[in-house]
Amino acid sequence: MPNPKLQLVGAPFTGASERSVIQTRSISKIFSLPEGPVTALKDVNITVNKGDFVSFVGPSGCGKSTLLNIIAGLLPPSSGTAELYGEAITSPSRRMGFMFQTAVLLPWRTVEANVLLPAEVYGLKPDSVREKARSVIEAVGLKDFIKAYPKQLSGGMQQRVALARVLTYEPEILLMDEPFGALDEFTREAMNLELMRITQSAGITCIFVTHNITEAVFLSDKVVVMTPRPGKVSGVLDVQLPRPREIDTMKDPAFADMIFEVRSLLGRHI
């Protein structure tokens, strides 16, 4: 019996809709190395709808970061296109914000100055965004550290600064490459709740790469499962758990079912 929650590649999922924000059309990426070509991505079709939280899970080397970099406009695909509101992405866009596994803070800048970096790059007067920056720094719980330097902060606090930095310029789309991968379990959980609360209330569309299946299911409306050699999408799961989600959501039997389904899609690759 076919599982109604499960849409395999080639299924209606590829169809565009007016709600779609990001769409990839048979993206492939081949890296040519001295040892020969490496197919990092093969024929990837995905659609991300407005306001959705979409996670990419898959074992190391299946091309998650490559795909995210292509969507961010930081890396050109070998063939196919990535589109933002129907237009081909050829360079980074200020409508998208990027978050990395590490916070990538500039050590000579205070928390506030780090958060103001994007505004500076955009040529805005720092004073015009200072209020906004303060309120975002407060929202991520770093009110008392606004004048602190990065080396005085823990890893989790540094990642909060990175979150504040990206939220301050109000991107419509947030691209995150294992943003909490380097954090301990407790901090990760707290960050998950915070991220969900902030992005939900601001209606930000999120694309989130992770190794952690629980995290992916907990956060997402859709989980895209990828498998390596060559990197491709092996399935997409709709997560129909109700929102707002709290830690209690994890007790829901449907939550465990979802995790199991992701696992079975990953199949022999884990």
Partner: protein, 268 residues
Amino acid sequence: MKHPDQWTDTAKQRRHDWYFRLGTIGIGVVILALWELLPLLGLVNPIILPPFTKVAEALYTLMQQPFFPGHLAVTFNEIMIGFVVGTLLGLGIGIALAVWPAAKRLTYPFVVGFQAIPKIVFAPLFIAWFGFGQTSKIVMAVVIAFFPVLINTMVGLESVPSDARKLMRSLKATPLQIFWKVSFLHALPIIFAGIQAAFTFAVIGAIVGEFVGAQEGLGYLLNLYNFQLRIDRAFAVIVILAGIGAAGFFILEWMDRKFIFWREDRSH
């Protein structure tokens, strides 16, 4: 404003620092005592190593001599011009090579090859080219001070984390913005270490230049006193040169602490 490093200071740590400072002073006293006593007790020939007090005396009388300020000024000038020009050249060329990869690929073998030459072999040549005056010494100081700045600038600019660049690219930063807001400041601790080395090298360059052929300067005086076997005066000149080197080093060290407060590998 308080230095962020000091926020973590504790009274205990400060006491600890003081013990070490006292220890260092103690070692200094022992060295001076040996310097004084070994020749006095006849364990070392006082002609070879004049006692500390003799050197101090020679230093005092040397500094009273009417000819002394002129020699000091000449060498000081050579060192400072050599240091500043060498630093600016190293910085400029290092930045150019780092931001323009084609230029780096074309010239890197020559940079490495030239760097491998002990630069003082050029000292006699520079005398032949630029004469016995200050120019040949300045050129020597520039050539020898230039390399640590060049190499550290290149290494520093190349060690910028790729994620930091990627962050800037995702913000659509211009190459100039990436350079000034991220790369240059990231490289600055490494560049500054090169600048500190450059000062010491500029002193070496100026003195070696004077050794090879000069009619004025501290290196000339040192050579002269050596030939005259006035070893106490020779030592006095060495003390002055050591003072110049140390002063430069500590001023640069102070600037480093003040301006590069985020340096990670700082011990205190």
